[in-house]
């Protein structure tokens, strides 16, 4: 096998194959990615920190293992990026917030440690909405990220840096977090694959907390097979996360089949496709037809409470966030602001209030206020308890639907990538996650894969499956991908014009 000229757009499993063939070293892959970052990232701004020296050292160590015959597995020598929500020992970790600017974690999150132990090469930390609160990466305190298909447009969010980096060939995979769609929606808007695993499938130890009953870490890559490889490394029980589950981690690729005979799929009746832009609706309908061509059977299903999921989410997620973000008090780490305020509290409250007033951005303040209100005396039953009851109904919807089908199909997002600055109303931005939020409330797994283009911008297909059915989800996504060309298109990030 001879080495291809451009290594950066190989899928992870293809990069693995050229490493195994001996024609290319991990250092070659790493230098290609670093060169792409140098050329393309000034216009995209996916990276908050580039760890070039560390990456080169890790690549050389991987190449030495390969020479010695001690390769550690499918990710050994593979360059990656990590969302800045994930704690990386000795490497700044900001959550996209001014309040954590300069924070250097003393330890690695569990998933980070598993990836480093597996020999993966860290290119750097990538941009996100502040504390993962947003759907466009515009709420980052360090400036927005551009969509590689059109840098005047957003990459989605909150894990927009991860999606943009992978779409632009700046690494073979990335990890993000998904609390209401923050992996799947940016994957859709950037034309790549992104997986939100089942709640409890992947340890959350060492990820900065947003909403602890909803948060889940997952991978981005340019093919479904690559997601399977990464999930196989990061999934599994962790004693440091009491919500991680002792469910065995299978070889996800072993479940792959060329067709989907025997698979039951459904498009929920409530996903009103004619409310979508016509090109998006057309792509989803064509994808459903493709599943039938592959042998899947189409069934009628209903999620009657899905229309209430967004409203319940915007009580539950901010409530949990308001508690989780209480730790940013200006005492132990992060920003401290002691003067310049206009409040008249006691000294302790003054330090905390001033620090938080100065350190949090507008969206984070909105969510903390909303969550505090929903939990406050006199409103708890009307808002928080009510939302938790509706959450029960949303989860029951899915349980009933999954008695009839194995996979639910639909759009990942209601639009393609919108322009930076185009969506300024908070509620309108929240509605970007209308199709992805129910899965987080129910704890099920969800996958977004590319299924077409509208005016040069990618469209995402959303697949959902029952808890711990990632193997079914990845099998379905892989078979669809093998039958369609969408994942093979890449943006022309070097000259600035998209390759069509």
């Amino acid at each position: 096998m001879s080495a291809p000229a451009d290594l950066t757009f190989l899928a992870l499993h293809e990069a693995r194959a050229v490493l195994d063939s001996g024609t290319v070293s991990s250092l070659d892959l790493t230098e290609s990615c670093l060169a792409r970052i140098a050329a393309a990232d000034p216009a995209i701004h996916a990276f908050l920190t580039v760890t070039a020296d560390l990456a080169r050292r890790q690549a050389r160590e991987s190449d030495a293992r390969r020479a010695a015959g001690t390769v550690r597995g499918p990710l050994d020598g593979i360059p990656m990026s990590l969302k800045d929500m994930l704690l990386t020992a000795g490497i700044p970790t900001t959550a996209g917030s001014r309040i954590l600017e300069g924070f250097v974690p003393p330890y690695n999150g569990t998933v980070v440690q598993r990836l480093l132990d597996a020999g993966a090469v860290l290119l750097g930390k990538v941009n996100q909405d502040e504390f993962a609160m947003g759907s466009s990466t515009e709420t980052s305190a360090f400036g927005p990220t551009g969509n590689p298909w059109d840098t005047t447009r957003v990459p989605g969010g909150s894990s927009g840096g991860s999606a943009a980096a992978v779409a632009a060939g700046m690494g073979y995979f990335s990890l993000g977090t998904d609390t209401g769609g923050s992996i799947r929606q940016p994957a859709a808007l950037c034309g790549i694959a992104g997986l939100k695993p089942t709640y409890g499938r992947v340890s959350r130890s060492g990820v900065i907390a947003f909403a602890s009953s909803l948060d889940q870490i997952g991978p981005f890559a340019r093919s479904v097979a690559d997601l399977a490889l990464v999930l196989g490394v990061i999934a599994g029980l962790d004693p440091l996360d009491s919500t991680s589950q002792p469910v065995p981690v299978p070889d996800y690729r072993a479940a792959f089949t060329p067709d989907l005979r025997g698979l039951r799929v459904g498009v929920p009746r409530e996903y009103i496709l004619d409310r979508l832009p016509p090109a998006v609706a057309g792509a989803i309908q064509a994808a459903v037809a493709q599943f039938q061509l592959l042998g899947a059977t189409l069934h009628d299903v209903s999620l009657p409470y899905s229309e209430y999921a967004l409203a319940a989410y915007y009580i539950i997620a901010p409530a949990e966030a308001s508690a989780n973000l209480a730790r940013y008090d200006g005492v132990k780490y992060g920003l401290r602001v002691t003067d310049g305020g206009h409040g008249a509290d006691s000294a302790g409250a003054d330090l905390m209030s001033r620090t938080r007033g100065a350190g949090f951005g507008a969206e984070v303040k909105r969510r903390i206020m909303l969550g505090t209100y929903g939990l406050s005396s006199g409103y708890y039953d009307a808002y928080y308890k009510k939302a938790q009851q509706v959450r029960t109904l949303v989860a029951q919807d899915f349980a009933q639907a999954f008695e009839q089908v194995d996979i639910l199909l639909g759009p990942t997002a209601p639009t393609t990538a919108f322009r930076v600055g185009e969506v300024s109303d908070p509620l309108q931005m929240y509605l970007m996650d209308v199709y992805t939020i129910p899965a987080n409330l129910a704890g099920i797994c969800g996958l977004s894969i590319p299924c077409g283009f509208a005016e040069g911008l990618p469209i995402g297909l959303h697949l959902q499956a029952r808890p711990f059915a990632e193997a079914t989800l990845l099998r379905a996504g892989h078979a669809y991908e093998q039958a369609t060309p969408w994942h093979l298109r890449h943006p022309d990030v070097v000259s600035g014009a998209s390759e069509k």
Partner: protein, 100 residues
């Protein structure tokens, strides 16, 4: 609808010092979001138990084993102010000495 006094009260509970402009803007934005959330009132939840956590795990235990702790220097390395190996904070009582 939220009154300015209610918004200021919630900000105080949340320990967020906000400017008058922020209070005004947040009041309007929160009211808009809450009016959307009020659609939940259409759902009959009288017989529905609340869900706090989807998989109903409880009392998850692990062995209580001693492990080496992080060294104090590592835990203090990110502190905004440190004194004598301790986190330093402003004096809470006026006569309690120098603040940070």
């Amino acid at each position: 609808m939220l009154t300015p006094a209610e918004v200021a009260h919630v900000a105080r509970l949340a320990r967020l010092e906000l400017t008058p402009d922020e209070l005004d803007q947040l009041g309007r934005q929160l009211a808009a979001v809450l009016s959307h959330i009020d659609m939940l009132n259409a759902v009959d939840t009288s017989a529905v138990p609340p869900t706090a956590q989807v998989f109903d795990l409880r009392d998850v235990l692990r062995p209580d084993q001693a492990r080496p702790p992080f060294p104090p220097e590592a835990m203090l390395a990110n502190a905004p102010a440190v004194s004598a190996g301790l986190f330093k904070v402003p004096a809470v009582l006026e006569a309690a000495g120098d603040g940070a």
